[in-house]
Amino acid sequence: MSQGLHIQDLTVRYDGVTALDRIQLNIEEHTTLGLVGESGSGKSTLARVVAGLIVPDEGIISLGEEPLTKKRSRAQRKKIQMIFQNPDASLNPRLSIRQLLSEALLFHGIVRRSGLEQRCLELLARVQIDGSALDRYPHEFSGGQRQRIAIARALSVEPELLIADEPTSALDVSVQLSVLELFASLKQELNLTMLFISHDMGVIHAISDTVAVMRHGQLVEINSKERFFARPDTAYGYQLLSAVPKMPAGTYSRRDTP
């Protein structure tokens, strides 16, 4: 219980409506928690609270040993980064990729100016984007490429926890697959802890170690991936899984797919 993310009794209310109701959640270090739920279940609110974008009414969030204060310090903010859903809105349209990537590096003094270009190129290489992208602007890239750049930017401050809020929902299926692969390999290489939100059971199955289910602002089930997808503990989890449209039996599959 020493490392990782710990959430205790987290409650958020908006004008009388309880968006999050006493959430208890732990994510072990270097694992991925997949958070599922239908629209309005509070999963995005939870992500934004953990990322420090919404101040909770009650509850404690701690990363490792350190409880995060209500008004987060810069050092605390750096440790938790977030990737958002909409690739059209995830990057400031008026800044070049170089400006976007170098901003936080310089602001936090992570690299000197002399090493800046090198570091930006390394970040782009991490997300498999060509270095020639540096002097381009976000609108010149496809949705998938923009999500990769947003990931590179989040990684620039060397976070411990990466939150991804439906990062592939707006992407085409083939692009979605490659972005998910990128997340998986980054998690390995950088020892990240991840909170991954999706409404898509296929995505959750592909990326998670543990699955948590939210409904009406409450956490209704936390289970290991294998168990959740075979025998969910709650009727709601069962309902969610059985509603997923299935491909017909005997559908073509490439032999080398895992």
Binding site: E38, R231, S253
Partner: protein
């Protein structure tokens, strides 16, 4: 393939000034009561093809080749249910207006017909008795109203543009069931546009796989999914993330 098709699209080509081949040489036909799925990724031209059939191409896009022959009327269900309804008009009234316009009924009779249609679509009585506005309905309920609006035109073909994409999985399942049941009952044909192969396989008897404005492969749903010939189709099928089968089958 049906004997006498009610909709035939022949060598359809759609162009804008920037791209003369937004949709290029697309041909397919549908028989009575049949459902054809157009699947593909964004930019493949599937939605444009649908709009061309409806005769509602966006500004700046023109049909530059081919023809669309249809012996019956068509109606469309869009992706965003809330965006397809007038937010300032109660839903029953919206539906009644369409019925009175399309079927020439009196105000009272069309309201009665509207209420019956909403009942067929499974909207709870409480929503039908009082005049509710779209904002007071959930996304799934709105989509049911939109389908009712489309059906009020008594279409021979229902055109569906990603009708379940904006909905939660459990609601998606219900809407798919509703559409299928209505199709059984009323016998309309459907063109169903979706990027979700699993949804397409549940709804459609035949599939056209589109890519960059062209049909790369078409055929019977099951055989196409089991033995795809085109590399792009294979890639699309492989990109579907599997969800394991629940233990104990589908009961409980």
């Amino acid at each position: 393939m049906s004997m006498n098709p009610i909709l035939e699209v022949e060598a359809l080509t759609l162009s804008s000034r920037a791209n003369p081949k937004l949709v290029h040489n697309v041909s397919f036909s549908i028989g009575k009561g049949e459902t054809l799925g157009l699947v593909g990724e964004s930019g493949s031209g599937k939605s444009l093809t649908l709009r061309a059939i409806l005769g509602l191409l966006p500004q700046g896009i023109e049909q530059t080749g081919g023809q669309i022959k249809s012996s019956v009327s068509s109606a469309m269900v869009f992706q965003d249910p809330r965006g397809s309804l007038d937010p300032l008009c109660p839903v029953v009234k919206q539906l009644a207006e369409v019925i009175s316009y399309r079927q020439g009924l009196s105000r009272r009779a069309s309201r009665q017909a509207a209420l019956e249609l909403l009942e067929v679509l499974g909207l709870p009585l409480s929503l039908r008795q009082k005049d509710r506005y779209p904002s007071q309905l959930s996304g799934g309920q709105c989509q049911r109203v939109v389908i009712a609006l489309a059906l009020a035109c008594k279409p021979g073909i229902l055109l569906c543009d990603e009708p379940t994409t904006a909905l939660d999985v459990t609601v998606q399942e219900q809407i798919i069931e509703t559409i299928s049941a209505l199709q059984q009952e009323l016998g309309f044909a459907m063109v169903f546009v979706t990027h979700n192969l699993a949804v397409a396989s549940a709804m459609c008897s035949r599939l056209c796989v589109m890519r960059q404005g062209q049909i790369v492969e078409q055929g019977d749903t099951l055989s196409l999914l089991q033995a795809p010939q085109d590399a792009y189709t294979q890639m699309l099928i492989n990109s579907v993330l599997p969800v394991p089968v629940l233990e104990g089958g589908e009961q409980r």
